[in-house]
């Protein structure tokens, strides 16, 4: 690897002296796991653009930065009450500040029956074997450097479990905040989510905050869906434009498990979001809808990797991208229908809108089929705003900027309309409108 990669050097240095385990809990297997992964990270380094999975996203500028790893004051930093709420999301609330769990900001007093929420530290101190098997899941090659970095560095995380047969009605709010500090911070956190057989959960995963100083964060989520479990997951990301955020989700779906997912990516300077899904059980279903909207100099890279491994599994991916100014969007929609996954059904659609000459969206649908009697459809387009529609709206009196915004929200309507809880739909439409640039030329 190259000689000077400050970002990685800092990580390796700190990992060598021993990153504190979750909540300070002692664990020999975890220490060993981390040392092993640290060695791989040191050997492989960060991926460059020769790596197919990082073709459109350069890490060069990020790699040159130095961050302070972990925030010793994260447990005390004040957070305005208004940061903690989303309309209609009124179930239990779990809050992390710079990757550190904040009991004082969370709301876990009225826990619905069947729902267990703890920190990974608590799980570790009770020696739960499940944690070990989850964390020892093999990590892929050099493309997954951040997943590995997270495993080596994560200081805390949430463990969320719904017991067999329980239906959690009120949406749970999982909030990750990055707030303004004097320091350039890096933080790493994890989420382990398990829905046992027949369990149902609605979860809102939410990234927000006020950070004006640069931050670098990685979040790895492991989601295990047992037979007949149902998860409705809404992801809202509106971190400030000072934040570099790398997320990796790893879904396992047992027979007839169903994940319905809506993702809205608005914030961040450099955003990489990897969604890896294994449809392991017969009849499992994975639906993902999403929207990314890089403006200014934002770079947003979405990477789907959906693997059909069992018979009669179904997946659908419907994503929209809007790029303006110098915004750069990347969408990789990878679907593999593995040998034996006969009768699988996979659909992927990605439509994109470019609003300026300097904006860029690279979209790459990749479909590989190794099974029989499969139904699959995929398509991707990059286009411009419909000038006829724009003229029509203006001819009725709508000013240019407003007409454009209306058309952009319309473009995203299909994504917004499915969001749960419904109260978030208008909230997010408004956020989207605010997010789109104020100064738009004809």
């Amino acid at each position: 690897m190259s000689a000077c990669v400050p970002l990685l050097d800092e990580v390796l240095k700190q990992a060598a002296v021993g990153q504190p385990y979750f909540d300070g809990a002692e664990s020999a297997w975890l220490a060993q796991l981390r040392q092993g992964e640290r060695a791989v990270l040191a050997r492989e380094g960060l991926p460059d653009r020769h790596n197919e999975a990082w073709k459109y996203t350069s890490l060069r500028a990020l790699a040159q930065q130095r961050f302070i790893i972990g925030d010793s004051e994260a447990g005390q930093r004040p957070v305005p009450e208004t940061e903690l709420h989303l309309p209609g999301v009124d179930g239990p609330r779990i809050v992390f500040v710079h990757g550190v769990f904040r009991a004082d900001l969370s709301s876990l007093q009225e826990m619905p029956a069947g729902l267990e929420v703890t920190t990974l530290g608590q799980v570790l101190s009770t020696g739960a074997a499940s944690l070990r098997s989850w964390m020892e899941r093999p990590i892929a090659d050099g493309a997954a450097a951040f997943e590995r970095m997270n495993l080596v560095m994560a200081t805390d995380g949430v463990s969320l479990r719904v017991k067999a047969g329980f239906h959690i009605e009120a949406p749970v709010h999982l909030l990750y905040l990055g707030i303004d500090t004097d320091a350039k911070l890096a933080w790493h956190t994890r989420a382990h989510i398990e829905l046992q057989a027949g369990a149902e959960l609605s979860l809102v995963e939410h990234y927000a905050g006020s950070s004006q100083s640069e931050q670098f964060a990685t979040v790895v989520s492991e989601i295990r869906m047992h037979e007949d479990a149902r998860l409705q997951l809404t992801q809202i990301q509106h971190a400030t434009e000072a934040v570099t955020l790398v997320r990796h989700e790893h879904f396992h779906l047992a027979p007839r498990a169903h994940v319905g997912m809506h993702t809205i990516e608005l914030g961040g300077a450099l955003v990489r979001h990897e969604i890896e899904t294994l449809l392991e059980g017969e009849g499992a279903i994975f639906d993902t809808c999403g929207l990314f909207a890089p403006q200014a100099r934002q770079h947003v890279d979405i990477r789907l990797d959906i693997r059909h491994q069992a018979r009669d599994t179904r997946s659908s991916a419907t994503w929209r991208g809007i790029a303006d100014q110098r915004g750069h969007g990347v969408f990789h929609g990878g679907i593999v229908i593995e040998r034996g996954a006969d009768g699988a059904d996979a659909r992927l659609h990605n439509k994109n809108l470019l609003l300026s000459d300097r904006a860029e969206i690279d979209t790459q649908p990749v479909l590989e089929i190794y099974a029989d009697e499969v139904q699959a459809a995929h398509g991707a387009t990059v286009g411009q705003i419909n000038e006829q529609a724009l003229f029509y709206l203006r001819s009725r009196g709508l000013p240019l900027a407003e007409a454009r915004r209306l058309l952009m929200v319309a473009f995203c309507r299909e994504i917004l309309d499915g969001i749960f809880p419904q109260s978030l739909q208008e909230y997010l439409a408004e956020r989207l409108i605010k997010h789109l640039p104020l100064s738009m030329q004809g």
């Binding site: 000038e387 029509y392 009196g397 209306l406 995203c412």
Partner: protein, 254 residues
Amino acid sequence: MLQIDNLHVRVAGKDILKGLSLQVQPGEVHAVMGPNGAGKSTLANLLAGHEGYEVMAGSVRFLDRNLLELQPEERAAAGVFLAFQYPVEIPGVNNTYFLRAALNAQRKHRGEQELDSVQFLKLVREKLAILDLAPDLMNRSVNAGFSGGEKKRNEIFQMAVLEPRLAILDETDSGLDIDALKQVAEGVNRQRSADRAFIVVTHYQRLLDYIVPDFVHVLAAGRIVESGTKELAHKLEEHGYAWVAERQLEGADA
């Protein structure tokens, strides 16, 4: 109210209007007829502010302003309305939301009070009744999945809500059966008033049986070659546009 003087317009390098002049006063209904390719739709779109038209010479004044300098939304606020020949389908934009935003944008531009949702819905209900449109149309996306007749009626409905000073109807009769045509004409006739003018662009005389014009102009080869009263439309119907071409030649010879 509207004064078009010696207008020359080029589209994609081709001369379309070649010295067109037309004067419209408040309360008048002018029909502009002509064969395909005469420049009728160019005239309609140009007045509404569509991009891509190059004005080579001449002027257009509307209520003492240079219309050609105004953006489409400024023209709308000043009182120009175009009923499109092909209304655009805009999936995802709610009809009610769009129309209220448009009306309020115009009112704001004119320094008038904006309407709240209660006032707006009252206005909508009044106007829907006039055009015999189903109220559920308002909850749908703009023109999306509308039938041809619904689209045209929706145009006239928007006109009724926006209450323009000058309404330009571009081939509003095209694609309509006789019942829909009568409904649209009835909608237009109810909106005729002493301070509102209409320019009705049409290929066929049929529409003019229901919207009876004060003046009829024949547009051919980029100019108005003949003007008259509604009898001119009947003459055209009888003789066809070839007759106009002959008259044009005679005029040129003279």
